[in-house]
């Protein structure tokens, strides 16, 4: 298994939102019995059938890298985490539906992962503020997942769901809301499963089927070039 064949998807989010449970559910179709804190990074592998049901169906291994920690950590922890952000092909942003701050922190998480080449010692091009333009230009597919859906009472559900819909729109990404302790949400054929499968397909497409076959350059490199010359890589 050469290094070129990997499809790497990062799972990012605050401490305690349920990334490890989510990854376990995605990879083993089982609920994680004893979740505990993730120190460092834990990886799991999901076998995904690209273009399922068509004659071009092919099996890929998608690696889900679950990076632990909180977004407000010291610079030394951030630079340690940055070693995992190499060569990534997709990002899953996880937030807790019962905790508004975790969804606000997603902006910082995505900036941290996407600006990997510039931080931690250099100056952030965007000075850390959220800039919608970046995300519409972004080549790396994003998916927003909200967890702990079961803990929200029925009455509040609508307002929470509208809020998260705005959030996903900001990232120009799809969103899924679920409960990691219930595999029913990702049952085959449900709309969540379809969205998930579409996301993974998009990741694989961007990874393998480019016109010139090169690895996609990093997000920040395009900023350095002024964002003009490399737009041709957008695959439709």
């Amino acid at each position: 298994m050469a290094a070129l064949d990997r499809v790497k998807v990062l799972v990012l989010g605050d401490s305690g939102v349920g990334k490890s449970s989510l990854v376990h559910l995605l990879c083993h179709n089982q609920v994680l019995g004893n979740p505990s804190w993730t120190v460092g990074c834990s990886v799991d592998v999901r076998i995904h059938d690209y273009k399922e049901g068509t004659p071009e169906e092919k099996t890929y291994y998608i690696e889900l890298w679950d990076v632990g920690g909180s977004v407000g950590s010291a610079t030394s922890v951030k630079s340690t985490r940055a070693v995992f952000y190499n060569l990534l092909n997709g990002i899953i942003l996880v937030h807790d539906l019962t905790n508004k701050k975790s969804s606000q922190n997603l902006y910082r998480w995505s900036l941290e992962a996407l600006n990997r080449d510039v931080a931690p010692t250099g100056v952030l091009v965007t000075n850390g503020d959220y800039d919608r333009e970046q995300f519409s230009d972004n080549q790396i597919p994003l998916l927003v997942i909200g967890t702990k859906l079961d803990q929200i009472p029925e009455t509040k559900r609508n307002e929470v769901l509208t809020r998260t819909a705005f959030l996903a729109e900001d990232f120009n990404a799809e969103e899924i809301n679920l409960d990691c302790t219930n595999p029913r949400y990702l049952a085959a054929g449900s709309s969540n499963a379809v969205k998930l499968s579409r996301f993974f397909d998009k990741v694989i497409e961007k990874r393998y089927f480019l016109r010139d076959g090169n690895q996609i350059p990093g997000f920040s490199e395009r900023k350095r070039f002024g964002g003009g010359t490399l737009k041709s890589l957008h695959y439709d």
């Binding site: 120190v39 460092g40 799991d44 030394s76 922890v77 070693v83 807790d96 508004k100």
Partner: protein, 430 residues
């Protein structure tokens, strides 16, 4: 409070109220001390305020906070959801029982007072608080020079960090490849329709000898390897984080701020060594300081240097400043330490419990620091504290503080020494 829980919301309003109230009353205690020195307000009204303040704080510390802690801890455990209140009361009663028992081995009480008087409660709260203070000061006294002085910093180069990171990524790659094999094996087994992989019964065992499925045995082996590799990756990650932190400290020490702190570090280390020395002397010679540093300092200057100045006037001001500084730095130090500690272990589940624990610790800390501050003040001002707090044996507290301070300082020296020794050896082996 917002800073403590930047990422989580403390939703329960009650918790916030309790915390703020505890903090407010603790601060008023200190204000009263300062007023005492300055002579603001009428003497009798001061006395009244003291009593009131003390009553409220004790009420909160001994009754309300433990009860709420018990309540929230119990509500976190899912099993006991139904009878939350009942179990909370049980926990609270256990706490009261231990709290009472705490008083027995210590020679604190004189038999004159009744059961539920202020003196009893304060004595016990004082014991716990003094222990806490001494532990924190002992650890802080040793940790402070260690952190600030660059003498202790190990030399970390970029090459070290890169090598370690490479090892970490290699380990992650190995984990990934093994997991891929496991996933493939699971999938083929699933597709072949084999649900069980453990043969049962006598015939099953015989069959498994001859026609063993090669996948299942290897699987458990691979799974064990994966577990070991994951443990290794965690270790490597922690080491890398450590190296990054050290590198950052080295860079920081080269800046002006870093140099300034380095300089302070030398001062602090001398001060800490002096404190440890004094604590040892106090214990060995069984002596408790009768006079406070201020008066003694003034006496020394007057006697040896022959400078004549108005003792009373200066002693009031100097002791005011000194007490103020002690109060401010100890509050600040406590809050910073607790913030760091709780930020590291906070999670959305236990945020309520943590805030309440914080309030409890803070309250006890403040009460006992009032007790101990008595030593640093000249005799005229000690009277009000002695009056309000009754006939506690203050000497006992000072002795106890010195003992625990010494123990904590020595053990933290030992601990830091071991930690320091271990780290360079690990890096040499790479």
């Amino acid at each position: 409070m917002r800073k403590l829980f930047k990422d989580y919301e403390v939703r329960q309003y009650v918790v916030q109220v309790i915390f703020s109230v505890t903090f407010a009353f603790s601060c008023t205690m200190f204000e009263l001390i300062i007023f005492e020195i300055l002579g603001v307000l009428n003497s009798s009204s001061r006395y009244f305020h003291w009593k009131l303040n003390l009553c409220v704080i004790l009420l909160i510390l001994v009754f309300m906070v433990p009860f709420y802690i018990g309540y929230f801890v119990v509500s976190n455990i899912r099993l006991l959801h139904r009878q939350k209140l009942l179990f909370a009361c049980v926990v609270w009663l256990t706490f009261m029982y231990f709290f009472w028992k705490l008083g027995d081995p210590f020679p604190i009480l004189s038999p004159k007072h009744g059961i539920l008087s202020i003196e009893q409660l304060i004595s016990r709260v004082g014991v716990i608080g003094v222990t806490l203070m001494a532990l924190l000061s002992g650890f802080g006294a040793v940790n402070c020079p260690y952190t600030y002085m660059s003498y202790f910093l190990r030399n970390v180069t970029d090459a070290d960090i890169l090598a370690l990171e490479r090892r970490l990524l290699q380990t992650m790659d190995m984990i990934v490849s093994k997991k891929k094999r496991i996933a493939v094996a699971h999938r083929t087994m699933f597709q072949r329709g084999e649900v069980h992989n453990r043969p049962t019964g006598f015939w099953g065992m015989i069959k498994s000898v001859t026609t063993s499925v090669p996948g299942s045995e290897n699987l458990s082996l691979i799974q064990q390897e994966v577990d070991a590799l994951e443990e290794l990756s965690r270790q490597l990650f922690l080491e890398t984080a450590d190296l990054h932190a050290t590198k950052e400290r080295i860079e920081y020490s080269k800046t002006f701020q870093g140099k300034y702190f380095n300089f302070l570090g030398y001062f602090f280390s001398i001060y800490c060594v002096w404190k440890i020395f004094m604590a040892t002397i106090n214990i060995v010679f069984d002596r408790v300081g009768k006079t406070d540093p201020v008066t003694r300092g003034i006496e020394i200057t007057v006697n040896y240097l022959g400078i004549q100045f108005d003792v009373k006037f200066w002693s009031q001001h100097i002791s005011f400043i000194l007490v103020g500084i002690i109060i401010v730095t100890s509050i600040r130090g406590l809050l910073i330490t607790l913030t760091k500690f709780f930020y590291a272990i906070s999670s959305s589940k236990s945020s309520n419990v943590i805030v309440l624990l914080l309030a409890q610790i803070m309250g006890m800390y403040f009460v006992s620091s009032v007790l101990l501050i008595r030593m640093s003040m000249p005799p005229e001002y000690r009277t009000i504290i002695t009056e309000v707090l009754g006939e506690l044996q203050f000497n006992f507290y000072h002795r106890w503080f010195d003992v625990i301070f010494l123990v904590s300082a020595l053990s933290s020296i030992l601990f830091l020494y071991l930690a320091h020794k271990q780290a360079p050896e690990k890096h040499m082996a790479l």
